[in-house]
Symmetry: C2
Subunit: 333 residues, 2 copies
Amino acid sequence: MQANPILAEAVRGNWVENRHRGAFIIADADGRVIASGGDVERPIFPRSAIKSMQALAIFERHAMEKFHHSPEELALACASHHGEDMHVRNVAHFLDRMGLSVADLECGAHMPTNGKAREALRASGQGPSALHNNCSGKHSGMLSVALAMGVPTSGYVEREHDVQKAVRAAVERVIGEPLTEDRCGTDGCSIPTWAAPLRAWAQGFARMATGRDLSADDAAGAQKLFDAATSHPHLVAGTGHLDTLVMEAFKGRVMQKGGAEGVQCGAIRDKGWGYALKCDDGNMAASHVMIAALLLQYADPDAAQRAVLEQFARQPTKNVRGTVVGELRAIGI
Amino acid sequence: MQANPILAEAVRGNWVENRHRGAFIIADADGRVIASGGDVERPIFPRSAIKSMQALAIFERHAMEKFHHSPEELALACASHHGEDMHVRNVAHFLDRMGLSVADLECGAHMPTNGKAREALRASGQGPSALHNNCSGKHSGMLSVALAMGVPTSGYVEREHDVQKAVRAAVERVIGEPLTEDRCGTDGCSIPTWAAPLRAWAQGFARMATGRDLSADDAAGAQKLFDAATSHPHLVAGTGHLDTLVMEAFKGRVMQKGGAEGVQCGAIRDKGWGYALKCDDGNMAASHVMIAALLLQYADPDAAQRAVLEQFARQPTKNVRGTVVGELRAIGI
């Protein structure tokens, strides 16, 4: 297998300690390649980076008409939230509005991603619930689809459940190619995840950004989802996270979402470009460095946006006593 | 730069999600290569994997004659311990025997590596001390060298301090080549770390295992250190860790030590072979998978040893609900 290029390196003192390879592509809705590096035809699991694409099922299955989801609820459907109070409270409200509760979530429970929220929960003596799961907003959206379809919610995470079939179909419509059983796995939150070429994810995001080659319903849904996520970036991730800070800084121009194991996807909306990036070894910090470099180069950042991106494109490494001893930095983009 | 081979891969469902590249070498004391993969001439930071090599300064600088260090103290000098009670207690005793205390350690404080020890410390309402730092045993050994040399202990972590000069000289003697300022950094515990070719680290461990091409003092010191580490493997790492379990299982035949950012070094003592391995991207779990595969193939494991190694060579990936959804596994060794 041809090796992808090195896109990030960790330097300690004056010597490179670690190297992170990866592939990236920026494409428009017609598949024209604006920029790319590495093997963009290699199928990759997009994981949480395509939650906004999966959430299109909310529109196609008329859950939107049934529940009139607020922008906050739509942002949470696209989110890998950090389990902060505002996230937990909003997801609980989201479920309550549909006559459901935390007991209906099948994502499992994990401690909040946010450090302070984790400490507060620990101090309270309570364990985490499924509301704290970073995917609880996406799962609430999937429960909404089940209710709108009039099917049992139980088992909605299973590949053969009508909800997951609807989600799969939505993704296939947007990327314009089938998702196949020979490259399928189970995500951390128990739903299926399907590998497809990096190119297809980028083009799908360009289609969502422009509506091009989408049905009127999908196009309108995509715009509502991107508007919701970029208007409520704190709901999509959390305090200090790249996705939140980038979307705040770009004020609607950039839809940005990370996925587990080094995936980054999104759209530079005003240009009509989608992008997708995968760090081969799954390192999240390295993927942050890479995507920051990509946006610095291709998203026409102003000074404030540049400042946000630069703090991710070069990240200091500190020793136990807090002295900077090196850095993780982008190369090759 | 020529890409190193893929030595570990993470599979999710039926598709490879992540790939980890690296290089490895097994060599004898004369530099004869038993097995290798990737670029073994590329200099890498060995980090904590060579603590036993650094600890040779204890012998060369007559700290051993001054303090008659116990096997437990020597094992701790080679250790990245997990901050469990037995580690903290033994390091405190080590310092006390020399008329020193935690206040003399310059490694900084971090929470214990061991989860239960971390929880217990949190529950006690206390913060970590430098005793909990995984390197506190190595630092105690370095303080012993300072006292034996009759130099101030203060600043013993600095590159120009006599202690670090003695440590550097010990490592240079063993690997048979100079450590140079153009590839030097600062380790997590504030001491210098020097990059040298993977081949040199492997050959150095073979020399320590055999005494070949070492002075009588270095050879005797190396044997005492390997004997101490392999007789007290719990002191060298901690509960459930690969280094501890492998050394326990091999009953003295294998000296095994990991270092930060995906480094693994050691010796198959009865064969007189040293080995060194670096995962290019610094992923520790991937380096565990790789070194387990290496020892399975080259260390002639019996059934019990094989069972220990196999649990590291294939590690299940679970989703939030605890279902196995994939695995991290070795390939190419």
